[in-house]
Symmetry: C3
Subunit: 436 residues, 3 copies
C-alpha cells in the first residue's frame, strides 16, 4: 500500500538539504535501489551553487508565561524553511515581523522558506494571531546551517539500448501530501514495476532531487549526456488528488514524451487536460531550458496552485487516496508500455495490397466478420497502409482509435512474414531533439 | 431511366469472373463504347494472380422428400460465390457447416464468397434454419471453376491533353442495389454525358473492373503510365442511397481530386460528409497504395458498411431511387465541369489596381450597384487580386463562396484584355503527384 | 472635441480634386502640420492618370414655374460627383435619365459620381420623384471641369529610425459622416497625440489622399521607398459608428501591422471582428497590390457597406459620436504604443534558469505571493523562458494574456542586468516583407 509508505514519510522534515532527505530516500530505497549522491556546499550549478546544509533539532516560540505557542515538534511547517539558529527574547513587534500567516486561509499553516537569504521565521494559522497578546516572547531555534552536502537519489534500470526514459520527482517538501509526497510515491511504484518487468527496450533513470537546485545540479553534471540519451521524460508531481489528469507539455511541445502521454490519455477514456509548457512549475523548467530542451513533460492529476490547500498544512492525508495514486501509477505504466511497444515500420510491399490470406493474416471466406476479426484486420491493413518509415505505431493507433501497444503483436506478425521492416529511429529522433 | 437499366442488370449473377460480368458490360455498353479485355487465369498482378473462371448453371439443396429448400434460381446470393462443383447426399451436420446466415438480420440472405480457397456453401435467411429438420440432404452445384479469363471493361474519351480523369467502378457484385449496381449505373451516365458534351480539356478513362483483383490487374499493366497521366480520379460506388453525400479522400488527401470534389460539395449547399482515406474500402485501396499514390478519392452517398442491409439480399431495389442516382450523376458532372474550367492565372498588372472601366470591365458611374453587377465586379477584382500563378480558379472561388466554374467566363475576359496570363500547371501537378 | 471639427468639415463639398479638399486639409492642419502637395492633371499613376480638377459654384433643377426642385446648396450630394457644366431646358424624360435615387432607401439621397466619363446627374430621395410632374425643367450646373491639380495632404513625424508606421485616410467624400469624415478626424487626433508624445522609435507618416487615385499617385512616386521603410500601416476609415471594432487584415495577413492590431484588440476585452483582406475596400487595395505587398491593414468600427445608410445622405451626424471616435483614437494609440514597445530579445542565460533573487528580480522568501508580485514574476520568467531571438514581446504577451506594452519595463530590467539582449529585427522583417 502506498499509503503505508506515505504515513512513514509524511512526518519527516525534508528540505533541499539535510538528514530528512536522506532518511526519506532510505525508506523509498527499501523496495528499489536508490543510490544517494552527496554534493558539497558551494558546488557550482550554472548560475547557482549548492547551499549550506540545514538540520533542525528544536524550534519553538514561548510566551512570557513559558507556554509554547508554536512548536516545530507539532508540525514542521511551523518553522520557515532554512531558518537560521536563533535564541532570544523578542518584542511582540519583532516577532510579528517573523510570523507568516495566510489571511485568506485562516486555519492553514503556510509553507514558507528562505533558502538563499539568511533569516528566521515561523508560520502559523492566521486564526491564532489573537493568542499573541504578550509584549515579549522567547524564540528558540536549535538548528545547524553550515557547510555540508546536498543529497540526490538516483536509480537506473538498463535496457536493450542506452536511450533513456527519465522520471524525476522531488523530495524537498516537508509534511505536505499532494505537493509533494505523491510524486516520490508514484515514481517509486513505477520504478518497482519496471524492475520486476524486465525485458526493457529503453533504459530508465529515476531521479529524486531537491526541486530546482537539484535538477540544476544534475544537469550541470550530466546535461550534455542527457541531450544525446533522453528519449522522453516526465516530472512526477501532484499525482494523488482530483478526478482528472493534467499533462503539462515539454517546452518543445512535440516530443516523444508529449506524443506518448497525450496519446495514452486520449485513448484511456479518462478525463484529462493538456497544459502548455510555461515557466511556472517544477523541474521541467530546468530540463526544458534552452540550453537543454530535453523532451520532458509532466503528468499530474490536479496540479500545483490549482487547489486551495496548495503550499499549506491543509495539503494533507485527507486530500489523497491509494486509489488515485494507483490510477496514476497505472497511467505512467501505460505510457511506458506504449513507448516500449512503439516502433516505426516501412511496408515492403507497396504496389497494391499484399495478399494476406495466403500468409494466414486474413480469413479466406469473405463477407461478414466478427468484431474481433474486424479489429485485427483493421490493425493489419492499417499497419500495411500507413507504415511508410515515418509514421510510428502511435500515429497509426491514433487513426484507429486504439492504444499504441495493441498494435505491437500485429506488427510483429507482419514483420515475421516480411511485410514490414523496422526502422531504427532513435538516433534520428535524438538528432532532431538536439537541433529542433 | 437508370432504373430501367437497373432492372435488366439486377438478376444477373456477377462475380469477379464469368459470363455475368460479360453480359453486364454488354448491356452497359449499349449507350457508350466499353471495350472488354480478357486476362488469362494465372496472369500475375503483383502479389496476386488472376483466379480461375467461375460459371454456374444450377445449384440447390433438397430435403429427403425431394423438396428444394434452397435454389440458386431464386436468388443468386443463395450460392456462396466461387463455390466448387459438388453433387452428393450430406448429413444435416455436414450441410450446416456449409450454410451461412446472419443471426442479426434473420430475414436477409448474406453475401458470401470464397475466391481464393476452394469450398462450397449456401447462404439463407437465419429465420429459415428451422426448416432443416431432416437428417440428410441432396446438394447439387452444377458449376465450372476452371482455367479461363477475367474480364475488364474500359472506355476512353480523348481530350485536348493526355492528362486523364479516371472514373472506376466495379461489376463483380451479384444482385445487390446500392453495393453495387449504383456505381456502374452512375458512372455510365456520366460517361454518356461527357461523350455527348465534347470539347474536353482532359481525357477521360472509365474502368469497370472486378473489385480488388481487377484494379490490381489494371495497375500491374498500366500503373506506371497512370502515375504520369492521371490528374484526378474517383471510385464510383454506393451512389444511390441516402440524403447525404460522402466523400472519401485520396490517401494523399490534398490532391486535385480532393480539392475539386470538396469544393463542389461545399458550394452545392447539399449535405455531405468528408471521410479520411483508410484501407477499408474499395479500389482506392489499390490506386492509392504507396507504389502509386494516385490522386483518386471516392464520391458516394451512404457508403458501404454504413447501412444495415450492406452485403445482404436486403440491399435491393427498394433502397435506391432514380432521383438519388441522378443527383449523384449531376454532382460528378459539376465536379468534372469545375476541373475542366479550373486554370491558374498570373495577373500581369501588379502595381496598384488596373483601371477596369476603360477596358469595359467596370461601370463608369460609381455608387450603388445591382447584385448581378456586384457579383461580376467581385469575380473580376478577386481574379486580379489573387491570380498570383499559384492560386487556381477553385482557390479564388472558395474565397468568394461560388463554384469554380462560374469564374471561367470572367477569367477569359481578363485574359483577352491582357490582364491575366494562363499558367501551365499540369506537368507541375503531376510531378508533385509522383514525388509527394 | 472632434465633433466640433466635424461640424466645420461636414458641409464642405469634397471630391477627388478641387478646393473642397484644400479647405478641408487646411482646417485639419490647424492642429498638426499637414503639407499640401499638388499634382497636375495628366500626371501618370501606373495604369491611371490624375483627372481634371472639378469645382462647383451652383447647381439646381427648376420646374416650369421656376421653383427649385433640387438645389446643390441644400446638400452637395444632390449633384453627382464630377458632373460637367450644363445649362438648358430638358424634357422630363431626359431629366429622369440623369436622376439617381435609391428605391430601397426612399428617403435617402444617394452618393453618386462619374469621375472618368463626362456626364452630369442629380441625386434625390426616391420619395420625391412624384414632384416631377412637369414636362420640362431648367437644369443649371455652374462648375469647372478643367486641367488643374489634385491635392494630397501629408504629415511626417521623424523617430529614432527611418522605419515608418503609415496611417492613411481619404478626404474625397462629401457630406457623409462615417464614410468619410470619421477617418480624417481620428487620424488627425492620433497624429496630434504622437506629435505631443515625442521620443518615438518609429517615424510616422500621415496621408490624406483622395481614395484610389490618391493612393495610386502616392505609390507611383514613393512606392519603392515604402517597400523598404514601412514596418506597419493602417487605412483609417469608418471609425465612428457601432459597438464593435473591425480589423481587415493586410493581404499578406501575417504582417507586423496585423499582429499588433489583432493582439491589442484581443487583449482589449472589447468586441471585435477580423476580416480577411479582399479587393472590395479602400486604399489597402492599392497598398497591398502584388507589386508592393505593404504591411497595411485597416482598423475600423462598423465598416463600409455593412450599415444600411452607407453611401447616402443618411450617413450623417446622428450615426457617429464623440465617444466612438475617441475610443477608436485610443485603440490606434494602444496599437502604436505596442509597436513602440515591441522588441525581440535573446536570453543570454540558457542552461537552467538564472538566479533572479541575487539580481533583485525575485523575492528571497519563497511561498505565497501577492497578485502584483505574481504578475511581475510571470513577466520576468516568461521573458527569460521565451526570449529566443525569434519571439517578440507581443508573442510573449499573448502567452501571458497581457498587452505587449506591459512587458516593456520588465524587459528593460532584464536587459540592464545582462540577461536579455535586444535583437535588431527591422531589416529582417522588411526583407521578408519584400520577398514574402
Amino acid at each position: 500500500m502506498l499509503m503505508d509508505l506515505f504515513d512513514r514519510l509524511f512526518p519527516i522534515n525534508r528540505s533541499i538539504t539535510g538528514n530528512g532527505v536522506r532518511e526519506s530516500l532510505r525508506i523509498l530505497g527499501e523496495s528499489v535501489p536508490i543510490e544517494l549522491r552527496e554534493y558539497k556546499t558551494g558546488t557550482p550549478c550554472f548560475d547557482w551553487e549548492v547551499p549550506k546544509e540545514w538540520n533542525v533539532r528544536t524550534a519553538y516560540v514561548k510566551d512570557s508565561h513559558g507556554r509554547k505557542l508554536i512548536d516545530f515538534a507539532d508540525n514542521n511547517l511551523h518553522l520557515m524553511g532554512y531558518s537560521v539558529p536563533f535564541q532570544g527574547i523578542v518584542s511582540r513587534e519583532e516577532l510579528m515581523a517573523h510570523l507568516h500567516t495566510r489571511p485568506d486561509l485562516p486555519n492553514a499553516i503556510p509553507y514558507m522558506m528562505s533558502y538563499y537569504k539568511e533569516n528566521w521565521g515561523f508560520c502559523i494559522e492566521h486564526d491564532r494571531l489573537g493568542e499573541f497578546t504578550d509584549d515579549s516572547y522567547e524564540v528558540y531555534i536549535d538548528a545547524d546551517l553550515e557547510d555540508g552536502f546536498m543529497t540526490i537519489g538516483e536509480g537506473y534500470l538498463p535496457g536493450a539500448t542506452e536511450e533513456e526514459i527519465l522520471l524525476s520527482t522531488y523530495v524537498c517538501h516537508p509534511s505536505m501530501a499532494i505537493n509533494e509526497l505523491s510524486g516520490p510515491l508514484v515514481q517509486t511504484a513505477v520504478y518497482r514495476y519496471l524492475a520486476q518487468r524486465g525485458g526493457l527496450k529503453y533504459s530508465y533513470r529515476f531521479l529524486y532531487v531537491p526541486e530546482t537546485i537539484g535538477a540544476l545540479l544534475y544537469l550541470s553534471q550530466h546535461g550534455e549526456r542527457m541531450k544525446s540519451k533522453v528519449a522522453a521524460g516526465y516530472v512526477v508531481t501532484c499525482t494523488g488528488h482530483g478526478e482528472s489528469f493534467t499533462y503539462k507539455k515539454s517546452k518543445r511541445g512535440d516530443t516523444l514524451a508529449d506524443k506518448a502521454a497525450i496519446h495514452v490519455l486520449k485513448q484511456s477514456g479518462k478525463p484529462y487536460e493538456i497544459v502548455e509548457w510555461n515557466p511556472f512549475g517544477s523541474d521541467e523548467r530546468q530540463y526544458c531550458s534552452e540550453g537543454f530542451r530535453l523532451p520532458v513533460g509532466s503528468l499530474m492529476r490536479t496540479m500545483y496552485d490549482k487547489y486551495p490547500e496548495y503550499h499549506t498544512s491543509l495539503d494533507n492525508r485527507t486530500l489523497i487516496s491509494e486509489e488515485a495514486l494507483q490510477e496514476t501509477v497505472q497511467m505512467y505504466i501505460d505510457i511506458i508500455e506504449t513507448l516500449e511497444a512503439n516502433e516505426t515500420y516501412t511496408c515492403l510491399h507497396i504496389y497494391g495490397e499484399p495478399k494476406l490470406d495466403k500468409r494466414g493474416l486474413y480469413p479466406y471466406t469473405g463477407g461478414n466478420r466478427t468484431e474481433e476479426q474486424k479489429r485485427r484486420i483493421a490493425a493489419i491493413t492499417n499497419l500495411i497502409a500507413f507504415s511508410d518509415g515515418k509514421r510510428d505505431l502511435i500515429d497509426i493507433a491514433e487513426k484507429l482509435g486504439v492504444v499504441g501497444s495493441t498494435l505491437h503483436e500485429p506488427a510483429l506478425a507482419l514483420e515475421q512474414c516480411g511485410l514490414l521492416r523496422k526502422i531504427d529511429r532513435f538516433s534520428f529522433d535524438l538528432a532532431v531533439s538536439q537541433i529542433g
